[in-house]
């Protein structure tokens, strides 16, 4: 059973995933500490991908694939045709810089999908990234969240412009769907509904 929720005209349902996510090869990552505690979050802009990882990333020869941003940039020449055929999507992690993507790919809408990887639930950068992709860079296609995606982020992800959500494998995506609609009439304007409540309803004199 798929754990992928997709919004279609505002209606959410579980769908099969027709994209293959391409991962970077694993590396030995040293545990770092700050103030005596293990560092759980990477800093925005922190370089985390090595040239060797990029070179060693195995690219499936056919089919629709979502590439890591670093691979998409460094090996872009390999993908020109497939981008034109709509077979290439891109994923970035929450600490990666969006402008690196937009500098490489001026027309984001040539990408059928952009995905954002959130390593930890508490990493709210994903919401700003979604917002910027939609409102600043005009991305109109599927915007997906994956990683530590749990039920209680879904409402915020939806409002931040995400339209598909790969719920963490050990949780029920079917049950999570309900939380997309935890609140009926949000106060503030956001991506899914830009008008704040005071511009949508007559709240009296």
């Amino acid at each position: 059973m798929s754990n992928l929720i997709k919004l279609n005209n505002g209606v959410a349902s579980l769908v099969e995933d027709d994209w293959t996510l391409v991962q970077l090869p694993a590396t030995q990552v040293e545990e770092r500490k700050q103030a005596g505690k293990v560092v759980l979050f990477k800093l925005t802009g922190e370089a985390t991908v090595t040239d060797a990882q990029i070179a060693d990333t195995v690219i499936p020869a056919t089919g629709k694939i979502i590439l890591p941003l670093s691979v998409f940039i460094a090996r872009n020449n390999e993908f020109k045709d497939r981008i034109a055929q709509g077979e290439i999507g891109v994923w970035l992690a929450t600490h990666e810089v969006l402008e690196n993507l937009t500098q490489q790919q001026a027309d984001l809408n040539a990408l059928p999908i952009i995905a954002v990887f959130v390593e930890r639930f508490a990493d709210g950068r994903i919401f700003s990234l979604g917002n910027l992709l939609r409102t600043r860079f005009g991305f109109k296609n599927e915007l997906r969240a994956f990683g530590d995606v749990l039920r209680d982020q879904l409402y915020f992800l939806k409002r931040s412009g995400f339209t598909s959500y790969l719920v963490r494998a050990d949780r029920s995506a079917q049950e999570a769907i309900a939380s997309l609609n935890d609140f009926t009439k949000p106060y503030q304007g956001a991506v899914d509904e830009p008008r704040p409540v005071f511009k949508r309803y007559n709240r009296g004199a």
Binding site: R32, Q34, A35, K37, V39, L40, F41, K42, L43, T44, F121, A122, D123, G124, R125, F127, S128, N131, T135, R136, L150, D152, Q153, Y155, F156, L157, K158, R159, S160, R171, S179, D182, F183, T184, K185, P186, Y187, Q188, G189, A190, V191, P194, R195, P196, V197, F198, K199, Y201, R203, G204, A205
Partner: protein
Amino acid sequence: MYKYDEIDQQIVDERVIQYRDQTRRYLAGELSEDEFRPLRLQNGLYIQRQAPMLRIAVPYGMLSSKQLRKLGDISKKYDKGYGHFSTRQNLQLNWPKLEDVPEILADLATVEMHAIQTSGNCIRNITTDQFVGVAPDEVIDPRAIAEIMRQWSTFHPEFALLPRKFKIAVSGTKHDRALVQAHDIGLEFYRDSNNQVAIKVWVGGGLGRTPILGTVIREHLEWQHALTYCEAVIRVYNLHGRRDNIYKARIKILVKALGIDEFRKQVDAEWAHLKDTDNTITEAELARVAQHFDAMPYENVPAHDASFDAAVASNPAFAAWVKRCVHPHKQAGYRAVTLSLKPHGQAPGDITSEQMWAVADLADEYSFGELRSSHEQNLILADVKLSDLFALWEKARANGLASPNIGLLTDIICCPGGDFCSLANAKSIPIATAIQMQFDNLDYLHDIGEMELNISGCMNACGHHHVGHIGILGVDKDGSEWYQVTIGGKQGNDASIGTVIGPSFSADEMPSVVQKLIEVYLQERTPEERFIDTVRRLGVAPFKAHVYAKDEVAA
């Protein structure tokens, strides 16, 4: 004050449903401890030493008598019959059961209250001056914008999981009483040269482990842009705040690291895109919300009242209370009254259910059914007629709410400390009560005069010790509790961070340390000087010398 419409009510009702289900999933093992933590924190629920603590939101400190009555009921039903007003103007329950919290929220929702975003890494309760709307030095009543910001920040999707907590204060007075310089964002309202409402925006202030006063990021912001400008600031922070180190995660560290000019440049770059978008506040919305804060239907009464004057002249106890607890008011013949939650020998800010009900009755009888909580952890009846003050005083006194110590040494700001809070290094309440007992002589207290003594049980600084004229910080040394003392801190327009006087003290020593600080002041002061003025004039040295003099303090 602001009254909910169906939309507001639906949001808190839906919140109750959401949180009830989150609690159910946690208890059923579907959410791990780590996964439930951010969810319960964003609903104000901490797991404490003996029991959970629930922090209930009191937006910008405004309460109705009906709400306070309900808080009294809830404290009785789900807790041990008392609550604690915090330095963020909120009410904390120290002994609720985790399983009862959904029911408590449902009860709160019946009186237009909630616990949304009272903790966690999100935009917290917006605070302001407790005399908002009635203070003679007020230029702008910022409550309408505060309420609009409350709504905007409630479940703001982009800022649901920030690097760290985010506190906003608003103020519209000549003399700042809202600590705008000690907040992540401080909004200081004023009238510009065209007589339009404008905002001076401070950013990057905060107490805690690294106390820093804020910096002005924008001298002039038109009120319409309050939301979009804050969005620009918080977006830069959300993307670039230090998530790798909890102690460096507040916006103040980012502002310091980038420098205010670079930070401002980044904010302006964001704001260029956000300015004039849909979250721009309209005249109509401001007017709709502002009407909830219209002036009370004051009676036309004379500026003086003979019976009041006679009572002051003939009753020294009443006169002492008037001197400390009664404050000037915009409207002739009216006063604001502080009900002290600092009776000597009790935990500062604590209030029993019976007292809550009594205050609710007093608010109904004397102050249009409304009241406020202050960040100094007292309650305020904002609109009392001069001619009612004596009767009010007698009833307040009968309920233990008329200690004439507001603004004096024993009006101590104090966090719950090690008795309750699992973050604390040391207890703070016993220090407060010991100092109160040491200075139990009212004449002496009044002679010492204006004094702010603030106590925090750890460097998170919930007790605002950095801005106390005397600040006391609980520290842990090899597993035992010690207290570090600062002097010279101050809130207000001329805010300052206190200076540490030297090595820390044991709990037993604290009353005599404060005593010695006061002795230096009483000896050195000029007739018009307050303690803080003397410290600023002389510096720390003479205070330090006396406190640490070898023949006076045992090692």
